[in-house]
């Protein structure tokens, strides 16, 4: 880690004013401190925003307004999250460990960086994300954890967040504050695919600060929702793949399906083709499988992760079947 100054922001305006050109906002530090220590990232100043007010409240529209500095533990335990958006509580609780969830903030979770081991290996590996133009050692290396959708020959890294998969499924909106004032971005548009610029991971501009996340009002398909994570050990591991699903039925048919996939791309992957294909269909395992295959037709597996296609299919079918109450 290179020398840096530490500043504790007194409020949001203070944080924005003091970030400067090379300053970084510090949330829980569970990812950034590690990245700085391993010299993957550098910063001259850390502006600590983890102690700013972190509130969770119902929005005027009946949704939920979550300040960016809310801790993962607090969000997962909130009564309205548990009753109206169980997929979000379950996704948060699937992530990391209790210690890390006590530290990690909502804003920082959204901005956590890939866990690709070549990205972290400053001395031993090439990485276009860390050093544009250097090459990618994951492409033909150990890529069991890497992307099958939306990747490029420059970068095959995945976004590691569980929380973001649930937020994508719920149509969450990110509130930003920056030099150009305040603006809002749907979470599904916030992270960008690697293309030829894998070092650019989000639509954030220099000096932007995530201030809050807003959930739309609950609906049948958010209340009847689930998050299932498949990993190499049953706890405290990043996802191989994960599925956030929500289902609303009417007259024995699918009225609305919500599906997002984790561990498959550089961003949470909303399976919109499957969602559309299922409307008006009977909620059967065969229908679920046919639907998710419409999204997976674009999958381009790497040397070590072709298993993910079948794993996504089986997990998606299992989740939606459970939500349909027709456990087969």
């Amino acid at each position: 880690m290179t020398p840096l100054t530490y500043i504790r922001a007194s409020d949001r305006a203070d944080a924005l004013a003091r970030a400067g050109s090379d300053g970084r906002f510090l949330g829980g530090g569970t990812n950034l401190v590690d990245l700085l220590r391993q010299n993957v990232e550098r910063a001259s100043a850390l502006v600590d925003i983890s102690s700013l007010d972190g509130a969770i409240r119902e929005s005027e529209s009946g949704g939920l307004f979550i300040d960016a500095s809310v801790k993962n533990t607090a969000l997962a335990a909130h009564p309205l999250v548990r009753s109206r958006y169980p997929v979000l509580a379950r996704a948060l609780l699937a992530g990391a460990s209790a210690q890390i969830r006590n530290m990690a903030t909502v804003g920082g979770n959204i901005l956590q960086r890939t866990r690709c081991m070549y990205f972290y290996d400053v001395d031993g590996a090439r990485c276009n994300k860390r050093q544009p133009g250097a090459g990618c050692d994951a492409l033909y290396g150990f890529n069991r954890y890497h992307a099958i959708l939306g990747a490029s020959d420059q970068c095959v890294a995945t976004h590691p967040s569980d929380m973001c998969v649930a937020l994508a499924m719920l149509d969450a909106v990110i509130h930003l504050s920056g030099a150009a004032g305040e603006r809002q971005v749907p979470l599904t548009d916030f992270h960008v695919l690697p293309g030829d610029t894998p070092q650019i991971e989000t639509v954030l501009k220099s000096g932007d600060l995530i201030t809050a996340v807003e959930l739309p009002p609950p609906s049948d398909a958010t209340v009847n929702s689930e998050y299932r994570k498949v990993r190499d050990r049953s706890s405290y591991a990043f996802a191989l793949i994960s599925v956030a699903g929500g289902l609303a039925l009417a007259d024995g048919q699918v009225a609305q399906a919500r599906i997002a996939l984790g561990g498959v791309a550089a961003k949470p992957w909303r399976a919109r083709r499957a969602e559309q294909a299922l409307v008006g269909r009977a909620p059967t395992p065969d229908a679920f499988l046919a639907a998710i295959r419409e999204d997976l037709i674009d999958a381009r597996p790497l040397s070590g992760n072709s298993f993910k296609i079948g794993l996504v299919e089986r997990t998606m079918v299992a989740v939606l079947t459970a939500l349909a109450g027709t456990n087969a």
Binding site: L4, Y6, R37, T73, A76, A98, Q99, I100, M103, S235
Partner: protein, 169 residues
């Protein structure tokens, strides 16, 4: 602003890069808290900050300013100067080499409070249930952030169950 470590006010380090873990071990010589991976993967460095369990390796000491930090050295003991959970660890062989033990102890003490509060875990079946049952599956999931390379996990769970039974959690 100072950091309260086991009831004593200490000054934060001059260098902002110093982790809370290194402050405890290298500056204050409180070597009960252990450095395992130093990257948030093992839980050996777990301490309590304002009562919540956190990883001291990923916490900058500066972030602890104005906060109350408690380490294994600062746990309230009984007549033999051991916390009830420490006695239970001895009784149930909850350790072999002992390196992960201070982190396990701090983690489990905070976990008991989380259970009392009703915080759910990934394996909690009913997220809206008001009260939780501390099954072995719940304890294992909640303690998954503390690795033990000696494989003493079964003894650790036994010890935690004993403590929860004694304290009525």
């Amino acid at each position: 602003m100072t950091i309260c470590v086991n009831g004593t006010e200490v000054s934060p380090p001059a260098d902002a890069r110093v982790s809370l873990l290194d402050l405890l071990r290298e500056h204050l010589h409180l070597t009960g808290t252990k450095k395992g991976c130093d990257q948030g993967a093992c839980g050996a460095c777990t301490v309590l900050m304002d009562g919540d369990r956190v990883l001291s390796c990923l916490t900058l000491a500066a972030q602890a300013e104005g906060r109350d930090v408690r380490t294994v050295e600062g746990l309230p003991g009984g007549s033999d100067d051991l916390h009830p959970l420490q006695r239970a660890f001895v009784e149930h062989d909850g350790l072999q080499c002992g390196y992960c033990t201070p982190g396990q102890i701090c983690s489990a003490i905070a976990m008991a409070e989380e259970l009392r509060r009703g915080d759910p875990s990934y394996v909690t079946h009913d997220l809206t249930a008001g009260t939780l049952v501390a099954t072995r599956a719940e304890i294992r999931e909640r303690m998954s952030g503390n690795l033990c390379r000696c494989g003493a996990h079964n003894g650790i769970i036994d010890a935690i169950e004993t403590m929860l039974a004694e304290t009525g959690a």
